[in-house]
Amino acid sequence: MQSRRRKYLWLIFSASWLLLVLLGAPRLRQLAIPPSLRPRTLTSWPRWLDQELLPNFVEPEELTKDPCPPSCSTRQWQRQRPGCLMETCFDTSRCQSHGFKVFVYPVGLTQPISEIHHKVLASIEGSGYHTANPEEACLFVLPGDALSPQLLPLWNGGQNHLIFHLHPGSWPDLGFDLGQAMLARASPKPETLRLGFDVALPLFPQSYPQRGGSRGQLAHLIPPPGEDLLAFESQLDARVTGSSNHLDQSTILIISDHHGEASEHHRDGPCKQDHNTDQSEDQKRLYNSTFCFIPPNCHLGSFHLLQALKAGCIPVLLSSGWELPFSEVIDWGTATIMIDERHLLQIKPALQELPPARILALRQQTQFLWDAYFSSVEKIVHTTLEIIRDRIFRAAARPWLLWNAPPGGLLALPTFSTQPGDFPFYYLQRGSRPSGKFSALIWVGALDQPPLKLIQEVAGSQHCAQILVLWSNDSPPPPQGKWPQTTMPLMVIEGRKKKSDRFFPYSAIGTDAILSLDAHSSLSTSEVDFAFVVWQSFPERIVGFQTQSHFWDEIKGSWGYTDQRPNEFSMVLMDAAFYHRYYHVLFTHFLPAPLRDLVDELSECEDILMNFLVAEVTKLPPIKVPQRKPLQEVLQHAQGEQPSRDCISKFASWFGHMPLVHSQLRLDPVLFKDQVSVLRKKYRHLERL
């Protein structure tokens, strides 16, 4: 009995003990951890029992009433308010009849102007928007920033006037009342900038190149191992420099300072312009760092910014204190790292945590921005004009992508389309593709016969949509019935008999792809078919058959071109080439009239100019596809000395650099001349000689 009871007791005892341990242990553990370390559930906003019964913040009837007092009348409203907006201070009606035309006051009106202003004026005069007639102008540009504009005949309170203010040192003294004039100012402070009205420019020295300018200098898209993380300019104030000591010295380079004294002195006063253009030492270091810290220093910040962009060093900016150049259209977040200056201590961890994909994108974007908008005075000035144009013609303004993806806003014209998906270079980004057909555009020159055989060969292509004959012959075109019978729609356009007509954006062209042909070109259907299929993979490039190569002629000290270097090429001839119709728009509206006149005067220059243009946009060589005509014949066909040799030099000087790029490859069909049954080959006719 005793033992049995004991057993019982034991059993109960141990069972309850077990239970206690099981139940109590987690609770005990919880108690052992101090409350601050314990995971906590949040006290959230209460779910009110009567939340369904709460009143609306406004009765729907009240919203639709919204009585409009007399003061909301349009004109009264405007007069009440100070400051300038495009709506209130700019008369867009001036731009309706003649479009966006820019008039520059003659230089004689004012005091002598600086070299940099001369460059600005030359850039405006070189743009397609320039007009010499003030009557048709929409925008008036002052030839400098130091004159009394009240004397100008068309001043009109500054309305529709633009002043380039490139010497920020003289701020705030422009010396006169700005009135309603727009100000394009280098390194403006946000508080002095009239948002959406003034334009923020970068600061650039007198010696800045007029056009062209050097290319970006990034060699490695991915930071190579051993590259410094961050380059610091030491022109920081004590607080910032002090904090830089906390950062790891081994990865951070403090750039020695040539000009600290001067900038210290000029921090809030006027800044000299050129005192740091000789930056060779600093420059080298910029190339060796992934990030460059740009201090918000006086006006020089924007100059340092440009240097960093050029070097491909990702600028690290403090998010306060200055308005970035062209910030109205450029999304600086895609090319720079912004950080609140009070988070400066966190620069290093923040930068180290950036994923490589982001760094890769930032580095590429610096190069794109530099090359598209900042490398020359001309680009800066043209960007300014385009920004103002976009404001005036809002409905036809460039969307974000056109400004912020290669080739950039200056080369992507909204007159063509405001849909990025229509441009040859944005197909992938927009998930669109070019239309699957092409239009053949056949140029019939003065000495040519109607190209009957050619039409038949081209019309035989399954991808052909229409044939356009550009009749530039002195004799009238043959009547309808004389043309070969094809199922293709055929249309004869009588041009002005100028060479530049070849690249006019005719509204009759209904496809994205154009096959440009000469009356004397000889092409077979399969050559056309294959070339078109290749073009669909490279819609932004020219795809052609016959090639030429440019070279630097040491003896003459000028550019030349030849077809006697058959191992490489940089141009394809336009007597048989595929390209996107957008290039017609660029050729006609982007290039200045004098260049097109040159093409009309000299023979064989239109090929070169078109190749220049496309290479300037794509930065890539054209593409060569095989042709049946034996090479020897092609080489013999070549003339000795080209009469138009100097047009290549002229074009190079207008572009400011040589945009053409060499290539050593040709795209052939996959089984081209392979040792396999010819029946297996899709483009077997290409191999038959």
């Binding site: 309850s16 239970l19 206690l20 139940l23 109590g24 906590r40 559930t41 949040l42 006290t43 959230s44 906003w45 209460p46 779910r47 009110w48 939340q51 709460l54 913040f57 406004v58 729907p60 009837e61 919203l63 639709t64 919204d66 409009c68 007092p69 003061s71 909301c72 009348s73 349009t74 405007q78 400051g83 709506e87 508080e191 898209l221 991915i222 977040g333 609140d340 009070r342 988070h343 490589p356 890769l360 590429q364 409905a395 974000w400 992938l428 927009r430 299929v533 058959p566 596809v625 790029v661 290539s663 050593q664 490859l665 040709r666 795209l667 069909p669 996959v670 081209f672 396999v676 899709k682």
Partner: protein, 728 residues
């Protein structure tokens, strides 16, 4: 509360000790019976206490687990505001993030996410007990609930960086200005309004309707609906929409593209007479395409006047009628911000906004050019021709965009609150800000578009050269032959041997072929195929040549030419043997093809040039389990790489030079690859597996390959740059 348990702990320990051996028990049977029972009951007590803990916790430990209160709004505490309690200053127009906002409170946050605190709800009354405002509106309650449910929320006032008062100021007309300001000023962390965020949708009051909330608020941030340029503090305030309750009430399915009945429609009821006469003139001119709606005068009882609009005798349902128009007018009223904007967007109608100086909602991040047309008030008469000049395709794009803006940022108070907080978050951590595309691209565009990581059209300098990576296991002889051959290529700058054999040491230094470039051997920890694609620090060039240790049939000319081709296409895989994927209609799946075809969609990575960045992508960003799958099956690493590159760039591969054998001349099978059935089946399986992981078939088919310009042309061989192409 915890006492019982602590006692228990101290007592239990000796108990445990005492009862350890059963032999002890008989000795204390009567003597300690009392003691025994006490012990027993203590244990029982402990048990009960624990049970109580377990099953009735929230009454004991407050603020845990079940923390959501179930109360009525009417039960909230009442706070009496003395008439002389302090008043905040008026808003400071010069405030910017770097002057008025205290970022130190936000600190450095590895997640780059601000923390938001919401003050608890109180009812404020003045000295006479008269309430200062409605306690809280339904919309503001929804907004606060949304914040509280989000990642931004914290209930710890000390950790918060942004503070949202529960005082409802959405509509200025429902509150007493001075008293509300006093109520704000007495909040626990008011601190001159620093880091406080107020939401207001209807600012101003008659007659002149200010465009920002009139309540004095020191430095507080204002998320306001209806800012004008003059009151909006760029980069400090946030412009928000005026919420339309129709968003929740009416379910308007998105309308597809296609022509709509009206070109331009105006649905606002209280228009300024001047505007109305302009609109009516427009309607008179363009009978059919313009519709100007008005308030209905003779509606029967019980019909909501807000849901009907009339034109002459015709009655239209609102907002459904908005879907019948391409463009819808959003004219300013007394206030700049109009709730109709939300209705118009919901209907997928393109808003035509006529309100000079109006700061559009979320204009800091949203690109309104893509979804609306803004017309200056002065140009209202020319409006029709401006709108007509917009191509139909663009209108449809704008309609889609308008609808997307509504879905993402307008449709609920939650959407509005989240967008507002995200904007502020982006300002505080600008380097981690959300990109333009993420804010603005509709999901369909995000899906179909490809953003090539190597988007810069740039031909890398030839001088950089390439790094050859030879993956090897133990075929030393063949390896040395490959090394010797590859070292003849002029642009080779470094050679990296990946020694994938853990059981065997690589040959001694002296045995390796002497070549003109640095040669490095990397030993791997495991024999995995993915070792070939690891982004080794030793790779200093952008270009990488992956090459197997048995590829000896390539000439130096061919390799050098391959490098030149890669320079022109640095964002693609440039390889020699090409392969194709085909859709097998019978089996309804993908098939791998290595026959002589006219097309290619893949190149084998047994010899291929590609950008070093793809090594990084392969190692760290390969979708799904593909990487492990490849390592486990010891196959298809090349197909995986082809998928990866095509998917991220949207571009096809480049096959270089004619087709031929690549390994040994004696091998009978083409390319030395065993062409037996199992191999092909396995490879096909890989394609199907990868296509399902990627959710799409990224490979692109092309019909071209790259040859030297003069390849097989009738031209003296010795004058060609690359004569030895296809010669082996």
């Amino acid at each position: 509360v915890c006492k019982e348990e602590t006692v228990c702990v101290s007592m239990c320990a000796p108990v445990k000790y005492n009862i350890r051996g059963p032999a002890l028990i008989p000795r204390m049977k009567t003597k300690h019976r009392l003691y025994y029972i006490t012990l027993f009951s203590v244990v029982l007590l402990g048990l009960i206490a624990t049970g109580v803990f377990q099953f009735w916790p929230h009454s004991i430990e407050s603020s845990s687990d079940w923390a959501v209160e179930k109360r009525s709004v009417h039960d909230v505490p009442v706070v009496r505001l003395p008439a002389d309690s302090p008043l905040p200053e008026r808003g400071d127009l010069s405030c910017r993030m770097h002057t008025c906002f205290d970022v130190y409170r936000c600190g450095f946050n590895p997640k780059n996410k601000i923390k938001v605190y919401i003050y608890s709800l109180k009812k404020y009354v003045d000295d006479f007990g008269v309430p200062v405002s409605n306690t809280i509106s339904r919309e503001y309650n929804e907004l606060l609930t949304a914040i509280s449910d989000s990642d931004f929320y914290t209930d710890d006032i000390n950790r918060a960086c942004l503070f949202v008062p529960s005082i409802d100021v959405l509509n200025q007309n429902t509150l007493r200005i001075k008293e509300t300001a006093q109520a704000l000023a007495q909040l626990a962390r008011w601190d001159r309004g620093t880091n406080q965020l107020l939401f207001n949708m209807l600012p101003g009051e008659p007659p002149d309707y200010n465009t920002a909330l009139d309540v004095p608020r020191d430095r507080a941030l204002l998320a306001g609906g209806g800012f004008s340029t003059w009151t909006y503090r760029q980069g400090y305030d946030v412009s928000i929409p005026v919420y339309s309750s129709l968003s929740a009430e009416v379910d308007l399915p998105e309308r597809g593209p296609g022509p709509r009945r009206y070109f331009l429609l105006s649905s606002q009821m209280a228009l300024h007479p001047e505007y109305r006469s302009d609109l009516e003139a427009l309607q008179a001119k363009h009978e059919e395409s313009v519709l100007v709606l008005e308030k209905c005068t003779n509606l029967s009882e019980g019909v909501l006047s807000t849901r009907k609009r009339c034109h002459k005798d015709q009655v239209f349902d609102y907002p459904q009628v908005l879907q019948e128009a391409s463009f819808c007018m959003v004219l300013r009223g007394a206030r700049l911000g109009q709730a109709v904007l939300s209705d118009v967007l919901q209907a997928g109608c393109v808003p035509v906004i006529i309100a000079d100086s109006y700061i559009l909602p979320f204009s800091e991040v949203l690109d309104w050019k893509r979804a609306s047309v803004v017309i200056p008030e002065e140009k209202m008469r020319d409006m029709y021709s401006v709108l007509r000049s917009i191509p139909q395709r663009q209108i449809e794009e704008m309609q889609r965009q308008a609808r997307w803006f509504w879905e993402a940022y307008f449709q609920s108070m939650k959407a509005i609150a989240m967008a507002t907080l995200q904007i502020i978050n982006d300002r505080i951590y600008p380097y981690a800000a959300i990109s333009y595309e993420e804010w603005n691209d509709p999901p369909a565009v995000k899906w179909s578009s490809v953003s090539n990581p190597l988007f810069l059209p740039l031909i890398p300098p030839q001088s950089q050269g390439f790094t050859a990576i030879v993956l090897t296991y133990d075929r030393v002889e063949s390896l040395f032959r490959v090394i010797t051959e590859v070292s003849k290529v002029p642009s080779l700058s470094k050679l990296l041997v990946v020694w994938n054999n853990q059981n065997k040491n690589p040959p001694e230094d002296s045995l390796w072929p002497k070549i003109r470039v640095p040669l490095k051997v990397v030993r791997t920890a495991e024999n995995k195929l993915s070792n070939r694609f690891f982004p080794y620090d030793e790779i200093e060039t952008e270009a990488v040549l992956a090459i197997d240790d048995d590829i000896i049939m390539l000439t130096a000319d061919e390799l050098q030419f391959g490098y030149e081709v890669w320079r022109e296409f640095p964002d693609r895989l440039v390889g020699y043997p090409g392969r194709l994927h085909l859709w097998d209609h019978e089996m309804s799946k993908w098939k791998y093809e290595s026959e002589w075809t006219n097309e290619v969609s893949m190149v084998l990575t047994g010899v291929a040039f590609y950008h070093k960045y793809f090594n990084y992508l392969y190692t760290y960003k390969m979708p799904g389990d593909i990487k492990n799958w490849v390592d486990a099956h010891m196959n298809c690493e090349d197909i995986a790489m082809n998928f990866l590159v095509a998917n991220v760039t949207g571009k096809a591969v480049i096959k270089v030079t004619p087709r031929k054998k690549f390994k040994c001349p004696e091998c009978t099978a083409i390319d030395g690859l065993s062409l037996d059935q199992t191999h092909m089946v396995e490879r096909s399986e890989c394609i199907n597996k990868f296509a399902s992981v990627f959710g799409t078939m990224p490979l692109k088919v092309v019909e071209h390959r790259a040859d030297p310009v003069l390849y097989k042309d009738d031209f003296p061989e010795k004058l060609k740059s690359f004569p030895n192409i296809g010669s082996l």
